[in-house]
């Protein structure tokens, strides 16, 4: 997001961030989700990330649609602005808010039902606009809140609790986003906070639409054997990818710090973000180029064919220009422009009237 430049204090022992806030200050109301729901782990990762990034709570807007996942905004950052809108339409609400005030940190939380069925059109068009928004999908392959129907991310062959298999091809948000020109595309797992936190950090800092697809199992309706979005299945197929040394970004190094070369130079790859921050990729497959959209697409497809759940920050366009850049709007938040700058006044009106005679 464009206007956050504060460096963070990274000493791991310190409990306060640069704003003097503890992680607790970034918490929200008590979760009303099921015990063990993946979404609550994502919430924890979100809290960690915004704490680390020193986001001022009241300068952040949390937006969502409807679903168990979409309740997440209530569970972190109590002191931020939250908007739990309507099912599947959060992207447009976020687009409007962002248009009005480009200076806030926009965090959008959605579910696979919210994003890939009723909200698919809005998701795709938010990607096209390159809306400056972290768009995090808590992806569990089902509609949790309405009790376990398949969502559009359910894999072919994945079964319901009763054993009925899904036969429709899944919509993979990662492939979709790559195809539609998204400028930041990542996948992670609610069970891997270590991977997820820096991805969220980078996504928030990214100047444009950052899609983060998080496999976030639904313990109540989709955590059984036969489900491809269960903890067990994800862990198993996820691990494989990591073992094959596939890319995950493991360190997000912001502006103020020097890049610590704690891994062999040949293994690291740094991508500089618009605000000077750097995303460092490690454990990336030999010739994987996270700035090569088509390459990323081909790689993910290939790994999917092998049944793997590829995770990590998969693609980033360092030249990303967000919606405001495309619209060429002024730097100041539009909502706050002085009325004199907006209203042409009586003289202009009089002059204008001659055009209509």
């Amino acid at each position: 997001m464009s206007h956050i430049t504060k460096p963070r204090v990274v000493h791991p022992a310190l409990e306060k961030n640069a704003l003097g806030l503890t992680r607790r200050d970034y918490e929200g109301r008590m979760s009303t989700l099921c015990a063990g729901c993946g979404h609550d782990s994502v919430t924890a990762a979100l809290i960690e990330a915004v704490w680390r990034l020193d986001v001022e709570p009241h300068r952040a807007a949390k937006l969502s649609g409807i679903g168990c996942s979409s309740k997440t905004p209530a569970y972190f950052m109590s002191d931020s602005h939250g908007f739990n809108s309507v099912h599947g339409r959060m992207p447009s609400v976020a687009a409007g808010a962002n248009a009005a005030n480009r200076d806030l940190t926009y965090i959008g939380i959605s579910g696979d039902g919210d994003s890939l069925s009723i909200g698919l059109g809005q998701l795709c068009h938010a990607i096209r606009r390159n809306l400056d928004l972290l768009y995090l999908i808590e992806n569990n392959g089902v509609y949790g809140l309405t009790k376990g129907q398949f969502s559009a991310s359910a894999d072919i062959g994945s079964t319901t609790k009763r054993g009925v298999p899904n036969e429709q091809p899944p919509i993979d948000p990662v492939l979709l986003a790559l195809t539609l020109g998204a400028t930041f595309v990542a996948r992670s797992f609610s069970g891997d906070k270590e991977q997820l936190v820096p991805i969220i950090e980078a996504a928030i800092r990214h100047d444009g639409f950052a899609l983060v697809d998080v496999i976030s199992p639904c313990v109540t309706f989709n955590d059984h054997v036969g489900s491809t979005k269960s903890y067990a299945h994800t862990r198993e197929h996820y691990r494989e990818v990591t073992e094959t040394a596939f890319m995950t970004p493991t360190d997000f190094v912001p502006l103020a710090e020097e890049i610590t070369a704690d891994i062999g130079a040949g293994q690291a790859r740094d991508v500089k973000m618009h605000d000077g921050s750097v995303v460092r990729f490690r454990r990336v497959a030999e010739d994987y180029d996270p700035t090569d959209r088509d390459g990323a697409d081909a790689y993910v497809r290939e790994r999917i064919r092998e049944g793997e759940v590829v995770t990590g920050l998969l693609f980033i366009d360092p030249d990303s220009r967000d919606h405001h850049a495309v619209m060429n709007t002024v730097e100041e938040p539009l909502w706050d422009l002085p009325f004199e700058d907006l209203c042409p006044g009586s003289d202009a009106m009089e002059a204008l009237m001659s055009n209509y005679r």
């Binding site: 602005h81 687009a95 409007g96 808010a97 068009h125 938040p333 907006l342």
Partner: protein
């Protein structure tokens, strides 16, 4: 019928769309306007882009009547495909001007009208070289013929052309004027000019402009300080956002950087347009969208959210003929009830009803004030006739004293002072809570949701807590009745009957009053300009034995709304409806009212 009449007649021009006739028609309209004569124009066009019949109707009325008249004294029939229909529609004694380059079938001829054949195509072929020019100039040439027949001031025409083409496009000026002269000369040579219906300069338009409602509304949004516009193209609303865009290009660029002080977002559909509008309103911008019936039908869920979560936002509904896709290039007032009660559950919305472009401008500004004052979606209900046709209205004026009413917003200083902020708490007992703009102050943060919430802003599923909020909402919206534009009322002593109308019916009803009162009858008149209805609306209704509600829809929607939302007894309301898609004429009103009162011929129904 067509006796000698100066500055009091109507004519129309039938052409094929996409052939450039629009500029010729505009030129004629504007010339008459510049001659200082009251004039109005109605564009009757098809729902396609090129090749189908289209008409431009011009009414000249020294006494200032602006309503459409369905009776034409002269028709310029440039489209052989509609000869039959055009000839049929001409008033007895009227004139039919046609292109005599090709003979007209005798079967089409009528004895009681005058045929004026001018070989327009032939003339253009022998006087112009390029094929494209030959076609275009044919349409300009009839302007010249009309100038001769009706005495349009050629100097005015020339000046207008000069203004249009300037110095840089001199060749276009020349060819245009040449073809006009060709028509003019041919006419003066071959016919008795002028006709008994003709023009004579006046000076009625010194303080007037020609403008359409969508342009005026777009300008209103600029003056109101709207900074976010989201839209999805749909006839007849598109030109509103087009106008806003053009005005912003002119008035809303940072003078130094050239960067935009407005975000205009072409959404992927109307749902998204509504979402963007609401998101921007929530974040503190004055934001709006413009659409038509099908768009409103799609926005239902979002409108309920904005109502319940109390998000200021402005929605223009430029209506066309429904139901469904209906007739996208015809006019109607068919969404009244939909707008008043849009969305599921118990909801009620503020709606403004402008009657002409001047009010489109005024009410646009008002809509933003009301939206922010009452923290709710506000509709401006216009229609194709108001929005897209050319209206002569007084010059728009702007009062530099105006400051936007942003309503009950707590700014950083206010928040600093208070202990705790509760978004949905009715602190002042006026039904309106305070709101904050996100990002302004830590104490201002709150959670917005469309689900059940308490007055403290927390989630609830508890009856009492839920009721406190929805009951306040009803009170809040109803209290807006005192703040919407008050009705325009014209009273006569002892009138027992009130004529009640809204929006673009205004001209037709006012014109009809003259005829209706010619026999000594007395009518009062009220044009409603906003919903919820103010006290004055009720008082007017209550003070008449019978109120005849005149509107443009099948189901008497204004009458229904009055029935539900004022205490008036049902038997004191009667209905006249015209909903075939063309703007209402005084004729419709007169026959409708007479019929309701059992006066005169019952032949012509109200649905004409």
């Amino acid at each position: 019928m067509t006796t000698a009449r100066v500055n009091d007649f109507a004519f129309k021009i039938g052409t094929v769309n996409g052939t450039g006739s629009a500029s010729a028609n505009g030129l004629i309209m504007q010339s008459i306007f510049r001659m200082g004569i009251p004039v109005s124009g109605k564009n009757v066009f098809p729902s396609n882009i090129q090749g189908l019949p289209t008409w431009y109707e011009i009414r000249v009325s020294a006494s200032g009547h602006v309503a459409r008249t369905p009776i034409f004294d002269l028709i310029v029939a440039m489209n052989p495909a509609t000869y039959a229909r055009d000839i049929e529609e001409l008033a007895p004694g009227g004139w039919l001007l046609y292109d005599s380059s090709w003979p007209m079938a005798d079967t089409l001829k009528r004895d009681d009208i005058n045929f004026i054949g001018v070989p327009l195509a032939e003339m253009c072929v022998s006087n112009f070289e390029k094929p494209r020019e030959r076609i275009l100039m044919k349409n300009i040439a009839y302007t010249g013929v009309l100038a001769a027949l009706l005495e349009i001031d050629l100097d005015v025409v020339r000046t207008l052309l000069e203004e249009t083409f300037g110095e840089t496009k001199k060749h276009l000026l020349d060819s245009n004027f040449k073809s006009i002269r060709l028509g003019y000369d041919y006419a003066t040579e071959h016919f008795d000019c002028p006709l008994p219906i003709r023009l004579e300069a006046m000076s009625e338009n010194d303080d007037a402009i020609i403008i359409d409602g969508n342009t005026a509304a777009g300008l209103g949004c600029v003056y109101a300080g709207a900074t976010v516009a989201a839209w999805y193209p749909i006839t007849p609303s598109t030109s509103l956002v087009d106008a806003f865009t053009a005005f912003c290009a002119r008035f809303r660029k940072d003078p130094e950087t050239g960067r935009a002080r407005t975000a205009i977002i072409q959404a992927e559909d109307e749902l998204a347009a509504a979402g963007i509008t609401i998101g921007a309103g929530w974040a503190g911008a004055r934001s709006f969208t413009a659409t038509s019936g099908p768009g409103i039908a799609l926005m239902g869920e979002f409108l309920g959210l904005a109502y319940y979560a109390e998000v200021p936002s402005v929605f223009f509904d430029i209506e066309r003929v429904g139901p469904s896709t209906g007739m996208p290039t015809r006019t109607q007032q068919g969404d009244i009830l939909l707008l008043a009660y849009a969305s599921h559950g118990d909801t009620k919305h503020i709606v403004l009803f402008p009657a002409d472009p001047a009010e489109c401008f005024e009410f646009s500004v008002k809509a933003f004030d009301l939206a922010e004052r009452f923290q709710t979606p506000v509709f401006v209900m216009s229609d194709l006739d108001i929005g897209m046709n050319d209206w002569v209205v007084p010059k728009l004026e702007w009062d530099d004293e105006y400051t936007p009413d942003r309503g009950k917003v707590l700014d950083a200083d206010d928040l600093e002072k208070i202990e705790k902020f509760y978004r949905y708490l009715d602190v002042d007992g006026d039904g309106i809570p305070y709101r904050t703009i996100p990002g302004v102050h830590p104490k201002g943060a709150y959670f917005t949701r469309g689900s059940g919430h308490t007055k403290w802003g927390t989630y609830t599923e508890d009856s009492e807590e839920y009721l406190e909020v929805v009951d306040r909402l009803l009170e809040k919206i109803d209290s807006a009745g005192a703040h919407v534009p008050s009705p325009k009322i014209r009273s006569r002593p002892d009138a027992k009957i009130g004529l009640v109308t809204l929006g673009g019916c205004d001209g037709a009803v006012r014109e009809a009053l003259g005829t209706l009162e010619a026999d000594g009858s007395r009518y009062d008149f009220m044009r409603i300009r906003g919903f919820p209805f103010s006290e004055e609306v009720t008082t007017f209704l209550e003070s008449h034995e019978l109120n005849i509600v005149i509107e443009q829809n099948r189901d008497a929607q204004l009458l229904s709304l009055l029935t539900l939302e004022t205490p008036i007894a049902k038997d004191r309301l009667a209905s006249v409806r015209v909903y075939g898609g063309l703007p209402m004429s005084a004729h419709h009103v007169i026959t409708g009212v007479h019929e309701r009162l059992g006066i005169g011929a019952q032949a012509e129904g109200a649905r004409a």
